[in-house]
Symmetry: C2
Subunit: 181 residues, 2 copies
Amino acid sequence: MMKHNLEETISLLTRTPAALNSLLRDLPEAWTSRNEGENTWSAFDIVGHLVYGERTDWMPRVTMILQFGESQAFVPFDRWGQDRESKGRTLGQLLDEFARLRSENLRDLRELNLRQEDLERRGLHPSLGTVTLSQLLATWAIHDLTHLHQLSRVMAYQYRDAVGPWSIYLGVLNCAGHSSS
Amino acid sequence: MMKHNLEETISLLTRTPAALNSLLRDLPEAWTSRNEGENTWSAFDIVGHLVYGERTDWMPRVTMILQFGESQAFVPFDRWGQDRESKGRTLGQLLDEFARLRSENLRDLRELNLRQEDLERRGLHPSLGTVTLSQLLATWAIHDLTHLHQLSRVMAYQYRDAVGPWSIYLGVLNCAGHSSS
């Protein structure tokens, strides 16, 4: 079991924009614009959600913990906030924006020079209650992975019939999704 | 629902090596060498499996269908074949090898100049029975996605405790896996 390690968290956070860019840029829209049915997300929606999170969720919550501790709860995250973020934009633009914002956020995070005792500082999540800065940063990284997991499932879903009898061997086609992602 | 489309399949197959390279190269081993427990795969094992598939599975089966049709079954795929492939090699070497083999295989696939009627040609899978060339090629692409799905889950698993109470919101931590991947 890994404990949270700030450098390992940053290593992963650093790589996600380039990984999504390599996978999705200029891919036919048949892969990137389709979802799994009503009220579900396409690859395009997922990248918009990641952009929105960079802007409104992660670093603002880091700042909240450092400034207010448990005395003030985080602003709840708007799970459909990417609708505003994505409107009228192309996937290429969203990928560029995600890379730019992530890079700026990681620069800001490094500039905080967090020490081990800072990572134990506590904040107040509006529904989860007390959380630590360490948990918030670990969640930022695993949030990337949860959406990579979702993205691979959403894209695979488009070929669920095309693969014919092989579908029983393809784990991703037997994933019903988990919570909202 | 997407029908199988050869160009869309190739678009996806083309991008996987670079996406895995962006995500995994030089990532700390804490992320890439750990698995989900006994008889499960790490990120390193998954890349080895993809290399092994490029060498022994996909294009050899394409050739089988074109040469023998249903008269001769495919050689069963060795799900632990990557143990030989990976031994003594670094993740960086496996990523390079995957990119090289995939590129060669897609060049060979394009050189076949497959027409729509070729895609309907049939082969014999050792356990699934009759399959078409179209289904085989669609499966090649979705096999990439099933392992991207697995990879994101295996890596997320390493931080399952580090995220604290957020685990209930992170879909990837609530994925029990599906079949072998």
